[in-house]
């Protein structure tokens, strides 16, 4: 196999990894900072893809980005209001919104479950036109993805240092303390989920435009894939207080996830295994540390039952 095939595969993995890392960054905000497991992520990802596609198809490639993020904000706001103002359990509100978004997404696509953007002008075709004739002509997708990831990472790094960002982190840490600091935790939860879902929507929009089509299943399993990437990132960057390092870890985790997946595909793993693999990674990443902490207890039990210890 020629070397260039590997380079191509690596580049594709990098592009996909960077685009999906936007969802990982969104989960970093909602899951790691706000301590809310946002199960509306799948639907919101698809919403960003469909809204972005419809707006791009109508001839507004840049507006498509804004519209997708705006749609994500609306979706995040709905999830947040359900859990902070209407007494719906946090996990349940994500599931409810996710289910509702399925209908919304088909409605956005005008009743279809698939839209084609083969000849549509998008930020990717714009970038390709811009880079034409330069040595980077073949890296146009990468360039768009890289710009988006850098912008979102820098925004999050700065945002989490502000008073609002601190309040969001504290809400995930100790809501009582937030209240006694004269801040309404319902407000911080709403803001946090709106911002996170704007990035999820952006992620879906860019993926659809990069692959020039959107179908209703584009976001299925995204929450697990993103969570797996986030947890892979944690093993590199740790769970310390260095936010920029952790953001970089989240992006790295997403890229590594895609690279490993690519390699597995080369070794003839069927493509449909992606979601099972991501599930297993999440299980290992969460259950691993738990079992490790239980290990002394298990060992103590075994030793005690075997009757080998002095009584």
């Amino acid at each position: 196999m020629p070397f260039s095939v590997f380079v191509d595969l690596g580049q594709t993995a990098l592009e996909l990894g960077l685009i999906s890392s936007l969802t990982v960054l969104a989960l970093f905000l909602s899951y790691s900072m706000l301590n809310v497991c946002d199960l509306s992520t799948d639907g919101c990802f698809t919403l960003g893809a469909t809204v972005g596609a419809v707006v791009a198809l109508s001839g507004h490639p840049y507006l498509a980005i804004g519209a997708a993020m705006g749609a994500g904000i609306l979706s995040g706001c709905t999830t947040a209001v359900l859990q902070t103002k209407l007494g719906v359990d946090s996990l349940l509100s994500g599931i409810i919104v996710n289910t509702g978004l399925y209908s919304v997404n088909i409605a956005v696509m005008g009743g279809a479950s698939l839209l084609n953007m083969n000849k549509t002008e998008t930020v990717f075709t714009k970038m390709a036109a811009l880079l034409q004739g330069t040595p980077f002509a073949r890296q146009s997708k990468l360039a768009v993805a890289l710009i988006a990831v850098l912008a979102v990472s820098v925004f999050l790094a700065l945002f989490l240092r502000t008073r609002l960002g601190l309040a969001i982190r504290a809400t995930g840490n100790n809501p009582d303390m937030v209240r006694s600091s004269s801040i309404n935790p319902a407000f911080t939860t709403i803001v946090g989920l709106c911002v996170a879902n704007a990035f999820t929507g952006l992620s879906g929009c860019l993926l659809a435009q990069a692959q020039k089509s959107v179908n209703i299943d584009i976001g299925t399993g995204m929450v697990t894939i993103a969570l797996a990437s986030l947890l892979i990132g944690n093993t590199f960057a740790g769970k310390g207080r260095n936010i920029p390092l952790r953001l970089a870890g989240a992006v790295l985790g997403a890229v590594i996830f895609r690279l490993v997946y690519m390699v597995a595909l080369r070794f003839h793993m069927p493509a449909f295994m992606l979601k099972l693999v991501s599930s297993v990674i999440v299980i290992i990443a969460i259950a691993g540390p738990y079992l490790k902490s239980r290990f002394p207890v298990l060992r103590r039990r075994l030793v005690h039952r075997s009757g080998k210890e002095a009584r």
Binding site: R161, R163, R169, A170, N174
Partner: protein
């Protein structure tokens, strides 16, 4: 300063478990008062604090703070003017965030998108050095690494960094070891005196209830049994308190920790 007018609160009304925690209770607190509150288990002391802070709405009555009617104000809005410390030292701070970040949230300087300024940091260092716990040199460490006494002292600092109109202390030294409890109590006295704070303190320690502050209120069954200050209070001893409780309520005081005589 704080005017509590005929407030009542019944939990689980209309059920077999109905419990009247506050029963037509009224209390006038003057500016600069430091009131110690004592009472039997379930007398309604913490419930009174919850009512003042807005953890729940009272069933009837009104609460005025500095002339403003706060009866219906949500909890986080009352927190602008009310600082509160709980018995559990873990409740007042965010463990995963640094000392500096915790203080920044509590101080609340600047708008939503402001960051911690150099002036803020300098202020935090000065304030922390007053605690005498070397926390000013650990500002970038997460609060989760601190001991219970250090966390409670930090919470006290956070609650008073912008002097509140009212400081509520809910047995805030009860979960600490004796040395730490003494230290935190000493800091409390110092800060309250320096900032001329109006303060209510629940305690189960009868001796410190009489030693600290200028007024002592005894609660029982959601009502105020007696309220002493001035010379009358200075002449009072712990046995006198127990006797007055028996005389007013017709039974002996049954606060287990009071009777066991654990200190602080």
């Amino acid at each position: 300063m704080l005017s509590i007018r005929h407030i009542s609160k019944t939990f689980y009304p209309g059920t077999a478990n109905a419990k009247t925690a506050l029963d037509d209770l009224s209390l006038e607190v003057a500016q600069g008062d430091f009131i110690s509150i004592i009472g039997a288990n379930g007398a309604g002391k913490s419930t009174l604090f919850n009512a003042i802070c807005g953890t729940f709405l009272t069933d009837s009555g009104a609460i005025l703070l500095d002339g403003q009617d706060i009866t219906l104000l949500p909890e986080h809005k009352r927190a602008f003017h009310i600082g509160r410390l709980f018995q559990d030292p873990l409740r007042g701070t965010a463990p995963g965030m640094t000392i500096e970040e915790n203080l920044a949230l509590a101080a609340g300087h600047g708008g939503w998108i402001s960051t911690v300024s150099k002036a803020d940091k300098k202020l935090f260092r000065e304030k922390l050095s007053l605690l005498g716990m070397d926390l000013e040199n650990r500002m970038r460490q997460p609060v989760g690494l601190l001991s219970g006494g250090q966390r409670q002292a930090l919470t006290l600092m956070m609650a008073t960094i912008d002097p509140p109109k009212l400081l509520l202390l809910d047995e805030h030294t009860a979960a600490l070891d004796p040395a730490a409890a003494e230290k935190v109590l000493e800091l409390t006295e110092k800060i309250v005196a320096q900032q001329h704070l109006t303060c209510l303190m629940i305690t189960h320690n009868m001796a410190s209830a009489l030693a600290l502050g200028n007024r002592t209120v005894m609660m029982d069954r959601g009502r105020i049994l007696f309220d002493v200050s001035g010379q009358e209070r200075r002449d009072l001893t712990v046995p006198d308190l127990l006797e007055r409780f028996r005389a007013s309520s017709g039974r002996a005081l049954d606060n287990d920790r009071m009777l066991l005589g654990t200190d602080a």
